[in-house]
């Protein structure tokens, strides 16, 4: 009897709960109506392209046929990609590019943030100067760096030859071994200010009294940084690193403008390779399969990003 009563009670609670949800939706109907246009736009510009890209990834699109005459090939595009030697070259380049750019940009940005967190004369001017690379258009920056690196009459080469430090200008971007590191340098130059700004904001949250107390307790600079500062900026660091990693994984402008992925695919990363497959070679199916794989990788970054943000929120609520 008790059990029966108990069941009845549970279902009643559930019904009440359901009614409550519907009720709440009804009560907020105008709020939903306000966000409906945004949701509709997102469905059109985000959900449909994702669906279409996934669909297209199962088709072959030879150069002599229109896209509507595409041929269904099942998972062939995926197997072709994974067995293609170019895929592994491009993936290796992408990993070097992403990890190298993200790690160094973050470390450099953090170091600058720590330096600029202190009060000293000219801090504001220095901060403004350091932000310049980030606000310059990536296209303009790429062209400027192309000339700086130019293998015949680049600025660096001219200076080195002029000072007698080299016989000929060094070959930065026309060499398969040096092209990727050279592009990573440009990328770091462009995005470390972003890390710097994020970390400067994070450093504002470190309580001064804690640092002073640690100093009074005899902690040295490294100990104060590691035991007091860093724990407070850990979450903002995670978010910064994730944002940098996603941006770098998605990079296009710098490698495309400076080298077009060359020489000999040595600076081709996923995005430039996808672009070339789609627009240069019209392999829409293969390019879509690449894009689906890239989407899955970036979604995993997205998961960690959301998790990092959520842990921030929970921490904030708990406090």
């Amino acid at each position: 009897m008790t059990i029966l009563t108990g069941k009845a009670d549970v279902s009643t609670v559930q019904r009440h709960h359901k009614t409550g949800v519907l009720r709440r939706i009804w009560d907020h109907r105008f709020d939903y109506a306000y966000v409906l246009p945004s949701i509709a736009v997102m469905l059109i510009v985000i959900a449909y392209p994702i669906y279409y890209t996934i669909e297209l990834s199962f088709f072959n699109t030879p150069p002599g046929l229109q896209l509507r005459d595409k041929i269904f090939v099942g998972i062939n595009n995926y197997t072709s990609i994974l067995t293609s030697p170019v895929f592994w070259t491009v993936t290796k380049n992408t990993l070097i590019w992403t990890v190298g750019s993200t790690f160094i940009s973050f470390v450099l940005g953090f170091a600058c943030a720590l330096a600029l967190h202190r009060d000293f004369a000219g801090r504001a001017i220095l901060r403004a100067i350091l932000i310049i690379p980030w606000v310059i258009s990536a296209v303009a920056a790429s062209y400027i760096w192309k000339w700086i690196y130019h293998s015949d009459f680049g600025v660096i080469g001219a200076v080195l030859v002029g000072l007698g430090l080299a016989d000929r200008p060094p070959n930065f971007i026309d060499n398969v071994d040096t092209v990727l590191p050279s592009l990573i340098v440009v990328n770091i130059w462009r995005e470390f200010p972003f890390a710097m700004i994020m970390m400067m904001a994070g450093l504002q949250t470190v309580p001064d009294q804690l640092l002073r107390a640690a100093k009074v307790d005899g902690a040295n600079a490294w100990q104060r940084f590691w035991h007091v500062t860093f724990p407070h900026v850990r979450n903002v660091s995670t978010v910064t690193i994730l944002l940098l990693a996603v941006a770098n994984f998605n990079s296009f402008i710098i490698p495309w403008i400076m080298t077009g992925g060359g020489p000999s695919n040595a600076s081709h990363i996923w995005i430039t390779h996808i672009y070339e497959l789609a627009f240069g070679r019209q392999r829409w199916g293969v390019a879509s399969a690449y894009s689906v794989l890239l989407f899955m990788i970036l979604m995993s970054f997205g998961y960690f990003y959301v998790r990092a943000l959520s842990s921030n929120d929970q921490k904030g609520e708990a406090e």
């Binding site: 072959n60 030879p62 150069p63 002599g64 046929l65 229109q66 896209l67 072709s80 293609s84 192309k146 130019h150 293998s151 015949d152 009459f153 000929r168 200008p169 070959n171 971007i173 026309d174 060499n175 398969v176 400076m258 080298t259 077009g260 992925g261 060359g262 020489p263 000999s264 695919n265 040595a266 070339e276 627009f279 240069g280 070679r281 019209q282 392999r283 829409w284 293969v286």
Partner: protein
Amino acid sequence: MTSISLGGAVLRATVSTALLVSLMSASAMGASVDLSKWSPEYVRSIAGTQDFDTAADCNKITPLDYKGRLTFWYQGVFEGDPDSLREYYKEFFATFRKTYPNIQLEEQGLTYNDLLDKFRTALLGNAAPMAVRLQILGGVEFASKGYLQPLKPEDIGYSTQDFWPGAMKAVTWDGVSYGIPTNNETMAFIWNADIFKRAGLDPDKAPATWEDVVKYSKQIHDKLNVSGYGLVARKNAGNTPYRFMPQLWAYGGSVFDETSPDPTYKEVELASPQSKAALQASYDMYVRDKSVPVSALTNQQADNQPLFLAGQLGMMVSHPSDYDVMLDLQKKATATDKEKAQTVIDNMRYGLIPTGPDGKRAVVFGGSNIHILKPEYVEGGKVDEPAAKAIACMWSSPEWSLKLAYVGSNPGNLNGFKTKWMKDRLEKIKFLDVTTSMLPYGIPFPALPQSPEIMNIIVPDMLQNALTGAMTVDQAADDAAKKVKELMEGGL
């Protein structure tokens, strides 16, 4: 003494006059230019011999008071073009608007390297313009996919014989013509006579063979420490095939059998010993002798121009317009750079592109064509055909196909060679004789939908693989041949 009656004399005079007129109509005054007589002297002899009334001619196709709307994209000027070309483009569109005041024209100029990508993307979204002027390499790709309407010179009041057979081949797919050639050009060999002299070479003599180019390039570099030949090997840039293919063909190599009069494009020849010899020549210059710009792998011709003007480059393959480009660049130079640039311009020489070991001379038959799209691929689903034909008629007229090619190219419509502007051009443009002399050596790119990928990606990749040491010359040529074969078989 033979006596001739008055009636007989009148009859003979009538017949002879009729015969003379008919001969003239087949040559100088008629529909076409006699290509079998092609030489600088012949070009000079026909220049300024005929007047054309463009508006009246196009009125027969689309009445001048026609009311309509036209969207039009065209391969326009880019950073390597002289300023004067920009002025001719402006003048053309102003004249079109004046001639057809009731046609609402919405034109968009795109550079060579951007046009194909943008046009392909627009077609996927059925958002293409009604008419487009594409590079010679593009027409067949879009015709084979069914995007273009059949269009032949007769549709806009001209005759097929008014255009180069090679140019017509490049707009023909499956026996049907899909476009009208607007301009056709062949490049020439340019060198700096002062550099030649200082390097101990004959300043007034171009290298006769590609082997000489390799030799001269090394000599220039070793003696003067400047780059010898302006090699270009960037990927996704039209400049690369335009400079490498003449070398490949001269050595007897090819991608398929595009050098034969009736190509079938069945067998891939990129891995032939002749093709490999051509690639080896580039390798020798870049890797063995280090006598060409190191930046060749990321450079385009536009990057070679300032090098040449600065006296840092001895030889290059380019258009007659490069002379004007040098003048433009010189105007922008300051102080001693200006003088240096003037010295280079004074020492600029043009010659025929060198031959291969067997005396074969070849050059890419370049140019552009106008096409009209099918309505279903056009924004709004409608094509204003009379308006599209009006611009096709005007651009490919003897007058405008000459004027729009005034500095950098040659008229697509052969009758352009007969106009007064051609006469004027022969007097004003230095070295024009040389580049027009190269026209009969012109070979069109294979008329295949796969051609853009072969020329813009596979061929430059082959060069880069060999020049960076990523592959040996043999491996790079074999790899490229394999890629072309796979491409033709529909593979990845």
